[in-house]
């Protein structure tokens, strides 16, 4: 296994007397109240949110095949027993809920294979279906994904120097999208994809490596340059049409984000060392999917624990993209394998699902091992929503699209976790609303129209009976 971190030369130093705080207590004592249950100013401990995506579904039972379901737990409720594909979560099981049998609410005429699974992450339909004149496989995402909705709530993204973090692991670009839907898990809005960062070194720089120490005069000078850039954008904006105005507003938003970062002192808590690997794909070489996904998980844990960001998204592999799980002895494209509904092939597909779940489980275990507040860990104060681009790889259906939810979200979500099964195709967006209400208790709807929801999933909430 490759070495994940370089030496400590790039370690950021805390500004108080040059000291940094020991690992394991990332959220500084001085930021907490005497009991460690809240921030010193009385605010509750911050809540975090993230989404996780993997491509090509899981092995569910297909009515036409009478095959064995290798994902869905046999029982529902709090006593759910992990299936083969959920076994990797054994160490964090109390924090995990599984939601099955819910239907993705995408409009029927917006289904184009692989794309429509993404509707689950925001409750908005796909747009511009088939706009690519050479390629009918193309769409754009119709609105903001749930992570961005939460990041933009007052008291979430505005409280941290980095509003949200987007990471990607496997480098393969999906060949089945001439638009933007499949190439990003986070979308700030229509035609506003937030490209995932695949390079751990670059992610480190983005999240930990670009704070300006207070004594460095470049900070204020750079801020005054940004002021002037903002003025130029403002005068250009007046001359443009509505579509371009939206793009300039997004640019202005980016200027504000950068200003916020430049105005923030380097974090006081322990930050990770700069990773040594860049995850650049090379023909003939295998991708280091395990190392890279562990690194990215570590970086996210540090970022959440240090309160550098409260929102993230984790795109393991794009739907239908070419990726090979060489670590488990495979030498075929995982997307190809996912088309196998029976052996030979089905076992390889299933092993791939397990492999992905192991990567997700590592991340959750890392969050569990990272203390947050006096007695808690990150999972106590966060929620993660994970799903795929389809239910089963061989049929590409988004009916019964499986979801994995992790974390207690500060007591908002039921604990220990449960298996909730719907036998009548309940709307997956109900879960989005439930999660959103963990950040905004006044929220009554999420998404748009029939793809959204106004009916939260009460069984997922801690208050359910």
């Amino acid at each position: 296994m490759a070495i994940k971190y370089l030496n400590r030369r790039t370690l950021l130093r805390g500004v108080l007397a040059g000291s940094s705080v020991a690992l394991g207590l990332p959220l500084l004592e001085i930021m907490l109240n005497q009991h460690g249950e809240a921030l010193a100013n009385g605010d509750p401990l911050p809540k975090r949110f993230m989404t996780f995506f993997w491509g090509n579904g899981v092995v569910l039972q297909d009515a036409g095949l009478k095959n064995v379901d290798r994902f869905t737990p046999a029982t529902t409720g709090v006593d759910w027993q992990p299936s083969e594909e959920l076994a990797p979560f054994s160490k964090v099981k109390d924090y995990v809920s599984v939601v099955t049998g819910f239907d993705n609410p995408v409009s029927n005429n917006k289904k184009i294979t692989h794309h429509e699974g993404m509707v689950l992450f925001g409750g908005h339909d796909l747009e511009d279906i088939g706009f690519d004149p050479e390629f009918q496989f193309s769409s754009n995402y119709g609105g903001p994904t749930i992570d961005q909705v939460i990041a933009n709530l007052p008291g979430v993204g505005d409280q941290t120097p980095v509003r949200s973090i987007q990471v990607g692991i496997a480098n393969g670009v999906s060949p089945v999208d001439g638009g933007t839907t499949l190439h990003a898990l986070s979308h700030a809005g229509y035609k506003m994809p937030l490209a995932p960062e695949h390079n751990p070194q670059k992610l480190w720089t983005n999240v930990f490596g670009s704070f300006v120490p207070p004594e460095d005069p470049s900070g204020p000078l750079r801020l005054s340059v940004l002021d002037a850039v903002r003025d130029q954008l403002g005068s250009l904006n007046k001359r443009l049409g509505s579509a371009d105005k939206k793009r300039i507003l997004s640019h202005l938003d980016g200027i504000s984000e950068l200003e916020k970062k430049l105005n923030t002192l380097p974090p006081l808590c322990e930050t990770p060392m700069e990773p040594s690997i860049t995850n650049e794909p090379m023909p003939g070489n295998a991708e280091e999917l395990v190392v890279v996904s562990e690194l990215m998980s570590d970086l996210l844990a540090y970022a959440f624990a240090c309160d550098i960001s409260r929102v993230g998204s984790f795109l393991f592999n794009e739907g239908a993209a070419e990726v090979v799980f060489q670590d488990i002895g495979q030498n075929s494209s995982y997307h190809q394998l996912s088309h196998a509904k029976k052996n030979p092939g089905l076992d390889d597909y299933h092993n791939g699902v397990v492999y992905i779940m192991e990567r997700m489980a590592y991340m959750l275990e890392k969050f569990q091992a990272t203390s947050d507040g006096a007695d808690g860990n990150l999972l106590d104060h966060m929620a993660m929503l994970a799903s795929s681009d389809c239910s089963m790889g061989w049929s590409h259906t988004v009916d019964r699209q499986p979801m994995i939810i992790a974390g207690k979200l500060g007591g908002h979500l039921t604990h220990p976790g449960v298996h909730i099964a719907s036998d009548n195709g309940r709307n997956t967006s109900d879960v989005l609303l439930t999660l959103l209400q963990g950040f905004d208790e006044t929220a009554t709807e999420v998404g748009s129209g029939a793809q959204g929801s106004t009916t939260p999933l009460d069984e997922l909430k801690a208050t359910a009976g």
């Binding site: 294979t113 088939g130 035609k191 490209a195 000078l221 070419e322 049929s395």
Partner: protein
């Protein structure tokens, strides 16, 4: 049989449909953007493409930095990637919003450029247009700002703008007590300003008596001379206009069609034009994906970074030879019987004395292999294959989508996409297995069109090596026929059929047209595109002439309402 899937591919937009003989489709309904037009293009006045702002591409950013500041700064820049939309980065640059991370990355790129400019004090002194008398020499700073600003913003800065830059620069000079700091912060602003990052094309009013004026369309404008030379420079050379070109535009030398044509021809004569076209084809033929293309190491132990790079270079040299060295019929892209190979590719293709080849040499291919043109290249066959196996479906879909611009629809939802499994006692060829698609009415409509051209290429394995039969010993049947391509016996005949297909040159033309403005054509541009298609044919499909004709077409210099 499923009614929706019956029949041939539909070219699903108005322009192409009106130009070509293409039958009804096997896919979904026309997308709304192309479905709205009423009358055919023949009867339509041109609707000018919308005005607006487009981001410059990553490569255009880097090339502009090289032109303004030199090589070291260009190497340091590393601006954010340009996202593709509908197959082209220029369309993404016109439609996708910049993200917060993108804004931060642009700032970082500008800082790296600024540092690189001042890093080498001897080179910096040489680059400066004046010798600073003090770290806060305002008049020398103004000279820097004027010359850099004009090249970066593609126009002269007005006084108030220069004052802003000077104020920022002098504040930094005062802080650090160096003139370098003044220049660095001036650059930092100039390169983050929207005037550098976006090409703004809003146009100016057209005099009512001018031939470009449309009495029924008051919104129609024409690009200003500066906007026009900027659009031409980025389209044809992927870089910011030179000072001379800006002078010409400001002096009223880029007004008439002859003058515009002369500018286009002059730009095409620059080495940057070759580089720009090469980058365009790397993008539009997906060659850049070779930089990351994985293969199964067990099946192809010789496949590595260098071989993948050679594959890409081969196609770039083939295009360079047709377009620039010989200014020949571009359709030779799919019929060329010679190839540009280095020793590794020559070995892959089974050519004699492969090890003696130095660099890339033009070689005659082995005619019995039927390997011709782009479809015979290792690059194409490697890209459109699985990790270990060739894929007639992938190759056929590429040919339809990206060479003939026929829209290939996705498979219907909830359909079984698996092929019949291998029976060791009764091996089957890929063609026989794919026959299952033809037997299933849900698949037949499309696969009967997608797969056959791929069968012709089955003699090339997943990295483009020739094979006369499958590993199983079964023979390869390369023959096939589709309604839109016609019959072919092998790869060489397939190349000829694509060459002769009227959709092929139109498809090549449309890609260039879209790229030139970062815009998908609409029905209102039908007449203009039709005219371009005719002159392309009259020129015997010369790409250089096409590039000039696109740059001088009314669609290129006129704009409508801002988008």
């Amino acid at each position: 049989m499923n009614r929706r899937l019956r029949g041939a591919f539909r070219t699903s937009f108005l322009v192409l449909a009106s130009l070509l003989t293409v039958a009804a489709g096997c896919g979904a309904d026309d997308p709304p953007i192309f479905g709205g037009g009423g009358a055919g293009p023949e009867t339509m006045e041109m609707t000018a493409p919308p005005a607006g702002a487009r981001q410059i591409l990553k490569r255009q950013y880097v090339n502009s930095i090289e032109l303004i500041f030199g090589e070291a700064a260009a190497e340091a820049a590393d601006p954010p990637n340009s996202e593709k939309l509908y197959g082209l980065r220029s369309i993404g640059a016109a439609e996708i919003a910049i993200s917060s991370q993108g804004v931060e990355d642009y700032e970082a790129a500008a800082r790296r450029v600024a540092k690189a400019v001042t890093a080498d004090s001897a080179a910096f002194a040489k680059w400066l247009p004046c010798e600073p008398k003090a770290f806060d020499d305002a008049s020398c700073l103004e000279k820097v700002v004027s010359s850099v600003g004009r090249l970066a913003w593609r126009r002269a800065l007005v006084k108030s703008e220069k004052d802003i830059v000077k104020t920022l620069g002098l504040a930094a000079a005062t802080e650090y007590e160096t003139f370098e700091a003044a220049v660095e912060y001036a650059i930092l602003f100039l390169l983050q300003a929207p005037e550098f990052l976006y090409v703004v094309e809003l146009g100016e009013d057209i005099p009512a008596d001018h031939e470009d004026a449309d009495p029924r369309d008051a919104t129609r404008k024409r690009l200003t001379a500066l906007e026009l030379v900027t659009r031409m420079s980025f389209f044809l050379t992927d870089t910011t206009p030179s000072a001379d070109l800006l002078d010409a535009a400001e002096d009223g030398q880029v007004e008439t069609e002859e003058q515009i044509r002369a500018v286009a021809e002059q730009l095409l004569a620059a080495p940057a034009a070759k580089q720009a076209l090469s980058a365009f084809y790397a993008e539009s033929l997906f060659l850049e994906q070779l930089d990351t293309k994985l293969k199964d190491a067990e099946t192809f132990p010789d496949y590595d970074v260098d071989l993948a790079r050679s594959m890409r270079t081969e196609v770039e040299k083939l295009i360079e030879d047709i377009v620039w060295t010989r200014d020949a019929d571009f359709r030779q892209l799919v019929t060329s019987e010679t190839a540009f190979v280095d020793s590794r590719l020559a070995g892959l293709y089974g050519l004699k004395n492969a090890s003696q080849i130095e660099g890339f040499e033009k070689k005659k291919l082995i005619s019995s292999q039927k390997r011709v043109g782009f479809l015979g290249t290792a690059a194409f066959n490697t890209l459109e294959s699985h990790l270990a196996h060739s894929s007639p479906t992938k190759r056929g879909a590429f040919i339809h989508s990206h060479l003939l611009c026929a829209k290939v629809p996705p498979p219907p939802a909830n359909v079984d996409t698996t092929l019949p499994e291998d029976d060791p006692d009764e091996p089957k060829t890929t063609k026989q297995k794919l026959q299952a698609h033809m037997d299933d009415p849900a698949c037949l409509g499309c696969h009967a069109r997608i797969d056959p051209p791929g069968f012709a290429l089955e003699t090339f394995d997943a990295i483009g090596r020739y094979r006369s039969k499958y590993e199983s010993g079964l023979a390869i049947d390369t023959s096939g026929e589709t309604e839109d391509i016609g019959p072919f016996a092998d790869a060489s005949e397939l190349g000829q059929m694509i060459h002769d297909n009227p959709n092929f040159p139109v498809c090549m033309l449309l890609k260039i047209y879209r790229h030139s403005m970062g815009h998908l054509e609409t029905g209102g541009e039908g007449a203009v595109v039709k005219q371009l298609v005719e002159t392309f044919a009259e020129s015997e499909y010369k790409i250089q002439e096409l590039l000039v004709n696109v740059a001088t077409s009314p669609a290129f210099r006129l704009v409508g309402d801002p988008k």
